[in-house]
Amino acid sequence: MMKVEHLKFTYAKKTVDECRVLNDISFSVQEGEFIGLIGSSGSGKTTLIKHLNGLLKADSGTVYFQGQNIYDKKYILSKLRKEVGLVFQYPEQQLFGKTVLADVCFGPLNLGMTKEEAEKSAKECLELVGIGEAYYYTSPFDLSGGQKRCVAIAGILAMQPKILVMDEPAAGLDPETKYMVFELVEKIRKTRNIAIVLVSHHMEDVARYANKVLVLHKGELVLSGTTEEVFTKTDFLRQIGMDVPQITSVTEKLIQAGVPMTAPATSVKEAEDMIMKVLRERGGMK
């Protein structure tokens, strides 16, 4: 659906603080995929996702969306922004509408939906994020932090994007709200068959939900593959200052201690299966 090819980007060109942020990045996003984008602070994750809906223009390289080059002169960027929804860090800070409903309608209206369409879409999305009808006409500033976040996410979802890009959607949320947000994202992915790109520092979340992982390090795409492929390269990840999911490091230690498992696990379920298998084999030997 979306293809990024040989993307290069430099901030503050031709000044003293020139700094190359992205270097030769290529990857693709397919329908229904859940991609985790990880990397330490300053690795260029946020810069990269700003390219996906055309907020930043690369120095060289191209981005294709549904086969069309978005840097083409004739390409209408506002159309792309409808299709690729970008949820920034702390999205609740961009709320400004008089009522919750008006704020969620803001995006769809800007992108050319009629008032009825926008409201229908907004109500649908508010329903999805668990904001009931009782809140439609309250001010968004009266809500709690978690609710504000949900309203902000609904504001992006209401544009009916094909790709949803989220920058640390769970930062600063309590475990319960965080779980709710992730389950919600997962539900939307399944029901609407859209692609999700999740930027996160939290390896557990990525391992749990993503089926493909991209690792950025100092502006380069150093690793990409399925969640298992990436997270089992534990040494490499640690070397570039990243962590691995807890369960991966636990199973890794078990292997080092001599438990005959094939590879470190990336989910608790998988680890459970592996350990059961080992136990059963031992039982069988008896």
Binding site: Q94, F96, G155
Partner: protein, 268 residues
């Protein structure tokens, strides 16, 4: 447009102007502005423009930044120019509908616009070459004598410093908000003026909210670390005049004296 604001941004360089005492620089800006107001003939502006160019050169600040600072007040400059042009009485030079442009109007419009532009350029040089802390310290010490008549100079200096410190933060925040709202389909550049005004609202409201939130957080953090604004605090970086400052003062007063003499004897 909004992203081009450069006033209040420090531009770190290793130059003789950067290393001057901030009081000297404050005085320099005052002298420069005073000179701007002493101007009688428009040609003098060329001289003053040459002076500021030379100062930017010495401070090793690219001329591009000089223009960038002006971009932010472009609207003000255009308004000043147009209103002066059409509202000065005198010998008519041209007629556009109900508006009459006079010869005096043209001279006045040019000189007033240039005066404002040069004033901003001079003030920007001050903020390019000194950090907010240096500026606040300089202000506090320069006006310290007013404490004797119970003017709360220390508090004022702290307020000024915080205000300066907030400018880059707010610009940064505006950039984030612009990206966020652009992702929700807001056009900031390619649309009508009316639409632009409405769209700006989607930036202003969240920006005000965050400014209020940030300032109350800051006040809390300062109090948590024992700041009360009372009593004398010692300086981590005491202000001391060096030889270069003395030379700068001499040059400044020579410059000012020159301008005043030229004004009185009416050479030009």
């Amino acid at each position: 447009m909004i992203r081009d604001i450069t006033i209040g941004q420090y531009y770190g360089q290793d130059s003789s102007i950067h290393s001057l005492d901030s009081r000297t620089k404050l005085m320099g800006v005052s002298v420069y502005i005073a000179a701007l107001f002493l101007v009688k003939n428009s040609w003098w502006y060329l001289l003053l423009f040459a002076v500021i160019l030379a100062l930017y050169h010495i401070a090793k600040i690219p001329y591009r930044h000089l223009l960038k600072g002006l971009k932010g007040i472009m609207i003000l400059l255009v308004f000043t120019f147009v209103f002066r042009l059409i509202s000065t009485p005198g010998t008519p030079a041209a007629q556009f509908g109900i508006f009459t442009i006079t010869e005096e109007g043209i001279t006045k419009a040019v000189s007033l616009t240039v005066r404002i532009a040069l004033m901003i350029t001079g003030a920007s040089l001050l903020s390019y070459t000194s950090t907010p802390r240096e500026l606040a310290d300089g202000l506090e010490k320069a006006f310290g004598f007013l404490e004797k008549i119970h003017v709360p100079i220390h508090d004022m200096a702290v307020i000024v410093m915080i205000a300066f410190r907030f400018i880059p933060i707010l610009i940064e925040e505006t950039n984030v908000l612009m990206d966020a709202q652009a992702s929700r389909g807001v056009e900031f550049e390619k649309c009508s003026v009316w639409k632009k005004c409405r769209n700006i609202f989607s930036l202003l409201l969240p920006l005000f909210l965050s400014a209020v939130r940030r300032s109350s957080d800051l006040a809390m953090a300062m109090e948590a670390r024992g700041y009360s604004g009372e009593g004398k605090t010692s300086r981590m970086y005491p202000l001391v005049y060096h030889t270069s400052d003395r030379i700068a003062y001499i040059l400044m007063f020579l410059f000012l004296a020159g301008v005043i003499v030229m004004r009185i004897v009416n050479i030009y």
